[in-house]
């Protein structure tokens, strides 16, 4: 009887094995990347673009056979632009086996997820749209890398340009959040260092997502600045621009104004865009279309697939996934340490050109784009007429600078 039972058990195992092997094979045929994204709440517009860019990158990778022969799949959750929720979701997604994390969009969430989740679970995380320099400087941990120019680089690139002009009285406006504060502080630091005659005559930090900027506009005009530098974007910039136009703000300051633009904001602004003012961008579509065949193929491919031009946030998210994929192929492994070793040492190709990461801060040496707002007939929407492409390596924090900022 015992022998019969053993035979039956062995038969059952033998029958089950092929199925079991199939399950194992199926699991091994895919690699999961994950993101706790700001798909609702204050940063929802950016979150949706990041999701689009991530999904498009995965589509492109899978059409080419995946990464190390494995199909890539995305698991994501909506954190409601809530840092605590982002931590919980990112932890859960990584514990379910994801090998790479694309960051939340708000700087506050990106910083805590980097420190508390990616750093502790030793899984690579790419900061896509969040560009506070704290991510790679003050709060750096070895498993994070930043794909866009950080607030340090943007502020330095802009300050270098403006310091050559005759402006002395500056106004600074930024939404009151980590990335905006970081950008504003850096700009104040650099512009006063590079131009000793420069002074900040007024600064304002309205709430992120404010619906009324009239009081801010009045205050800035009353201070009579030579130049108004802002770290406003998205809905904040749309609201500010409309209310500023209505009060004759841009005429009064003779268009001596600069803001952070992205493709979607320019498109939404339409005829309300402040033509003639300055702006900075991270991945302007009109530049990508003309800069290289890769850039053109990316923009047209995205438009065919998703029905619209990629925004700057979309391109950052796309580059995050593509950079990770290149690092994995180079390391010939999905394991975190070899992947991060590749990030720190090799050269990467992207639609914004070839770049490297800083070996000790994992900050991508990508360019900062500065231009003038114009109505682009080809795109049929406002765009920046790019006048300066500032190389990332020329404005990134030096080793001495980031060591000082890390307190080391």
């Amino acid at each position: 009887m015992k022998l019969v039972m053993k035979m039956l058990a062995l038969s059952a195992v033998a029958l089950a094995l092929p199925g079991f092997a199939n399950i194992v094979l199926a699991q091994n045929e895919t690699v999961t990347i994950a993101g706790s994204l700001d798909l609702s709440g204050a940063a929802a517009d950016v979150g949706k673009d990041v999701l689009d860019g991530t999904q498009y990158a995965i589509k492109v990778l899978n059409e080419k056979g995946g990464v190390l022969g494995k199909k890539v799949e995305l698991k994501y959750q909506d954190n409601g632009t809530n840092p605590q929720k982002a931590i919980e979701q990112a932890t859960s997604l990584l514990r379910d086996g994801a090998r790479f994390l694309t960051s939340p969009q708000s700087s506050a969430s990106a910083i805590v997820v980097s420190k508390v989740v990616s750093g502790k679970l030793h899984v690579p995380m790419c900061a896509n749209s969040a560009n506070s320099d704290d991510i790679t400087i003050k709060d750096f941990q070895p498993y994070v890398f930043q794909i866009g120019p950080n607030s340090y680089m943007e502020a330095r690139a802009i300050a270098l340009k403006l310091a050559k002009q005759s402006y002395q009285r500056y106004a600074v406006i930024s939404a009151d959040y980590a990335g905006g504060r970081s950008g504003a502080n850096r700009f104040k630091q650099f512009i006063t260092e590079l131009n000793p005659k420069a002074e900040i005559v007024v600064e304002e930090y309205p709430k992120f997502g404010a619906t009324d900027y009239t009081a801010t506009i009045n205050k800035v005009l009353a201070a009579k600045p030579d130049f108004v530098w802002t770290f406003l974007f998205g809905s904040d910039l749309i609201t500010f621009s409309k209310q500023a136009q209505a009060l004759g703000f841009f005429d009064q300051i003779q268009n001596h104004f600069m803001a952070l633009y992205d493709g979607n904001t320019l498109k939404a602004l339409g005829s309300d865009a402040a033509v003639g003012t300055l702006g900075f961008q991270r991945a302007p579509v009109n530049w990508l279309l003309k800069s290289s065949e890769d850039g053109k193929a990316y923009v047209t491919g995205f438009k065919e697939s998703m029905g619209s031009y990629p925004s700057d946030w979309t391109t950052m998210a796309y580059d995050c996934v593509m950079t990770w994929a290149q690092a994995v192929e180079d390391a010939k492994s999905f394991d975190s340490d070899p992947v991060m070793q590749a990030i720190a040492t090799r050269q990467f190709e992207s639609v914004r050109g070839i770049f490297r990461f800083g070996p000790n801060d994992h900050q991508a040496e990508v360019p900062v784009f500065i231009g003038t707002v114009m109505q682009d007939k080809e795109l049929n929407q406002p765009a920046l007429d790019i006048i300066d492409v500032v190389p990332g390596a020329s404005v990134r924090a030096t080793e001495e600078a980031w060591k000082k900022m890390r307190g080391g």
Partner: protein, 292 residues
């Protein structure tokens, strides 16, 4: 300094006018129905998005004029349907049941708007007639702000007529004072509640239409506006329309003037003001200005 102070006071009045348009409906619903309607801001947001569609279709001038008539009626119809289908089921459930329902509605309506319009912000072009600014005694006021002020005056007159000259208004005032007694004397409280809900939503609709060309239209408008509106009705005294008017102006002015002295968090001023008013007068301005 004096010039800037006067400019900020003027800006504050215009901002307060928009707050009043939203808060007046919210306080009516609270006063007459005893409901804390968290979804009131959602109706405002729906109106703003609907306006963006109408303006896109008909152009800035005709679009805004049409929206001012059609959209508030549409929003009122949505609110009446919600009152009949959902709110009636929770009147007896007490404050927690009402909060759960209206919070649920905030989420559902927000997701509905995102599904329909997407997550990207929209910009509604203002008519040429309302672009630019006018100067009053050397003070600049955006022409569009004058529309907001005009609409607020019209709404205030409408509410005054409604509350003092109509039977519905008298019943609403009676409901604010003693809703239980109103039912006991044979008034159809169910129909009255539906009417109040419709009127409040109509006001939220007017506010949403008027707010749309002022700034970005996005899916966070619901929560942003309702938080401020709640502060306004608490300061004004729950259920008091005229208290809400005074409070809205005070909040708008305090917010604008505070930017002269602090660089950040002018919204914090609203809540500081609320604490001070409640500390001095726990019932808000209601006792000063009278109820509705």
């Amino acid at each position: 300094m004096l010039q800037l102070l006067l400019t900020q006071i003027l800006a504050g009045i215009a901002t307060g006018a928009l707050y009043f348009l939203v808060a007046s409906g919210l306080t009516l619903v609270w006063g007459a129905m005893g409901i804390v309607n968290l979804a009131h801001g959602s109706l405002f947001m729906i109106a703003a998005f609907a306006t963006s569609s109408v303006v896109l279709y008909l152009g800035p001038g005709a679009g805004l004029a049409t929206s001012l008539i059609v959209v508030p009626i549409g929003v009122a119809a949505i609110a009446i349907a919600l009152e009949i289908l959902l709110f009636r089921r929770v009147y007896k459930a007490g404050i927690w049941g009402q909060l759960l329902l209206t919070f649920g509605l905030v989420l559902v309506l927000n997701d509905g708007v995102r599904t329909l319009y997407g997550s990207l912000p929209r910009s509604v072009v203002a008519p040429d007639l309302l672009r630019g600014f006018i100067e009053l005694f050397g003070l600049r006021v955006a022409k569009y702000q004058t529309l907001v002020l005009g609409a607020t005056i019209v709404v205030a007159i409408f509410l005054w007529c409604l509350l003092t000259r109509s039977r519905t208004g008298r019943l609403i005032r009676a409901a604010v004072d003693d809703p239980a007694m109103l039912g006991a004397v044979g008034v159809d409280v169910r129909t009255l509640r539906t009417r109040v809900m419709g009127i409040a939503a109509f006001l939220a609709g007017v506010a949403g239409v008027i707010a749309a060309p002022r700034g970005a239209v996005n899916a966070t408008l619901d929560v942003q506006i309702v938080i401020i509106a709640f502060a306004v009705i608490v300061i004004g005294g729950l259920g008091s329309v005229w208290g809400a008017l005074v409070a809205a102006m005070l909040v708008g002015i305090a917010e604008a003037v505070s930017t002269m002295f602090i660089d950040q968090g002018s919204e914090m001023v609203i809540f500081v003001l609320m604490v001070i008013v409640l500390f001095v007068r726990p019932t808000g301005f209601k006792t000063i200005v009278g109820q509705s």
